[in-house]
């Protein structure tokens, strides 16, 4: 019983405590805000690393809140998927926060920085909580924290587009939360449990007695989580919200927040519902169709965008489609690919949004056609953007290639050649809208503000370098992370 035993709880609670303290720091010790926020996230990241090590060496373990055993108390269950998600969330958010500590100074009013950190820390803490928890109502509570905090870091920017986008996002995620809570009620009604493991034990029996209840719960769950993770027909809030927010917020929202809901849905679908549900309902087919539509339609919308951040936002709709495609093919390589893509896309999209934020910081230009020659005047962000764009397209030696490779492999092995074709077509589309930007950036003639950009602070360059390096590292040595991802996939499929 050492301190390491309590890490699961501390990884969530330490950012919470710092977030509670942040308004006080902001009022009386403004200088402490940034270091405290970085320290809290750093602690969470370190805790996730230690947990990952524990899980890899000793296997999954659980943590009981207040020493109450599972059906009575709340249990955190730390398995491969949980640590993988927690590592992704804390790692990427830490890097984004380093960038944000400088970038936010010009996007926000100065007295709001403390409040921004509060919301940011709560957002990350809730996402770690969602990854680790094994209790469905606890999941709901974290979903709510995450929803409000995610809207909060949009509306904090002083512009009326942000307000409108945040309101739309808030209303739709409240709708999703309502559906989620009703689904929880329906599940609780027929099983009498809230813990994932115990629901899973009680469901086969309940499935025989009350099949309609469980189908309704499944449908509500799909709608609720689908709205929150912007699955294709329910994505209407995403482009506005992600493009109008401050750049660090966009990076976190696009890279992490929509993924965590997908992971929660994945856990519930595979760990809670019995396998027989996939035979009586076409839920996986529905998910497959929706995700392929998302991939194609999202890419097609992205092609016609003029605004750089809007293009990246539409590209996120396509990328969440990849993640769902991997989750719903019911095949181990595809599942590994989906889980890997969650991590890879978090890195790539965070980097792309940060690079776009750097362009906007340096030149104030948002139109894609005005970014000619930016590669000559702002080399670091342009290089990062290039790496990210190549990874998005799926060029070998970048991490995007690895996850797409696994997805295609899974589709082929599962005998679903059609979806392999979908992935290839979408890669072509990705190339269609990313490559011209790169060509423009390096071979265009810089004009106007692009010719003489503001110098980028070093704290804003370092995160771009780290993320770009990471993209290449995990592209050239993918085995660093594949082990964890494939173990997570195997555990989900019960292999």
């Amino acid at each position: 019983m050492s301190a390491a035993h309590h890490l699961p709880a501390l990884a969530i609670v330490v950012p919470l405590v710092i977030a509670y303290l942040m308004p006080l720091f902001d009022r009386w010790r403004r200088g402490w805000c940034t270091p405290a926020a970085l320290a809290a996230l750093g602690f969470s990241f370190a805790a996730s690393l230690v947990m990952a090590w524990q899980v890899m060496t000793h296997g999954p373990f659980s943590y009981q809140m207040g020493n109450w055993p599972p059906p009575w108390g709340i249990e955190l269950y730390i398995d491969y998927l949980a640590v993988f998600t927690a590592l992704t969330m804390t790692g990427v958010s830490l890097i984004v926060l380093v960038y944000g500590s400088r970038d936010l100074l010009h996007e926000l009013k100065p007295h709001l920085l403390g409040w921004y950190y509060t919301l940011y820390l709560l957002l990350i803490a809730s996402m770690v909580g969602m990854a680790l928890t094994n209790d469905i109502f606890n999941l709901f509570v974290f979903v709510e924290i995450c929803a409000i905090a995610a809207c909060g870091i949009i509306s904090i920017k002083e512009s009326r587009e942000c307000l409108e986008a945040a309101f739309k996002y808030l209303v739709l995620s409240a709708l999703g939360s309502g559906c989620l809570l009703l689904a929880i009620a329906l599940l609780y009604m027929v099983t009498g449990h809230l813990n994932f493991t115990f629901i899973a034990q009680a469901l086969p029996e309940a499935m025989r007695l009350y099949p309609n209840n469980i189908l309704a719960a499944l449908a509500l769950l799909l709608v609720g989580m689908g709205v929150k993770s912007a699955l294709f027909p329910l994505h209407v809030w995403l482009p506005d919200a992600h493009s109008s927010a401050p750049s660090p917020s966009s990076a976190v929202l696009s890279g992490l927040v929509i993924k965590i809901y997908a992971v929660a849905l994945l856990r519930i679908l595979y760990q809670v519902f019995p396998d027989s549900i996939f035979e009586v309902t076409p839920v996986l087919t529905i998910l497959l169709v929706m995700s392929s539509l998302a991939i194609i339609v999202g890419s097609m919308f992205a092609v016609v965008q003029e605004d750089i951040k809007k293009m990246l936002a539409y590209s996120s709709i396509a990328q969440i489609g990849y993640v769902f495609l991997g989750f719903s093919l019911m095949e181990i390589s595809a599942l590994t690919g989906g889980i890997l893509h969650m991590f890879n896309h978090a890195m790539m999209k965070a980097m792309l949004f940060l690079a776009a934020g750097a362009f906007i910081y340096g030149t104030g230009v948002r139109r894609l056609s005005d970014l000619k020659g930016i590669g000559l005047t702002m080399p670091v962000p342009a290089a990062a953007f290039t790496i990210g764009a190549l990874a998005m397209v799926g060029i070998p030696l970048t991490n995007g290639f690895i996850s797409k490779w696994f997805l295609v492999l899974g589709a082929l092995r599962g005998g679903q050649t059609f979806f392999a074709v979908v992935i290839l077509i979408s890669s072509l589309l990705n190339g269609f809208y990313y490559l011209p930007i790169i060509v423009n950036a390096y071979f265009g003639e810089p004009q106007g503000a692009v010719a003489e950009p503001k110098r980028l602070p070093r704290l804003m360059q370092a995160p771009l370098v780290i993320l770009g390096f990471g993209c290449l590292l995990f592209g050239i040595f993918p085995s660093l992370i594949i082990g964890l991802a494939s173990r997570a996939g195997q555990a989900l499929l019960g292999m």
């Binding site: 809140m65 709001l112 109502f137 904090i156 002083e158 009604m189 449990h193 009350y210 209840n213």
Partner: protein
């Protein structure tokens, strides 16, 4: 047209859920699946294990205390979001 479509969609949802209601465990029966060992332990041992006569207080703060920490955090995040919005504009 769009209004009509939404209306029909909602009627459809209502009908589907009503069909579900017909099949649900009967309201108020003591033998329903929810009345298993979980509330039993809460009701029988709450005084001894948490010292609270009000079982609900015992549940929200002790047995499921982490939920309530989350709940307090929801309030905090709401006020942080609201205040920052009001201050920003």
């Amino acid at each position: 047209m769009r209004r009509l479509l939404t209306f029909f969609l909602l009627v459809l949802i209502a009908l589907a859920l009503t069909v579900t209601v017909l099949e649900m465990p009967t309201f108020g029966e003591a033998g329903n699946p929810t009345n298993n060992e979980v509330p039993q332990r809460y009701l029988e041992q709450s005084i001894e294990e948490t010292g609270a006569l009000n079982v609900i207080a015992g549940i929200i703060i002790d047995y499921r205390g982490f939920d309530t920490l989350g709940e307090a955090t929801v309030l905090f995040v709401a006020i942080a979001a609201a205040l920052s919005t009001l201050k920003a504009h």
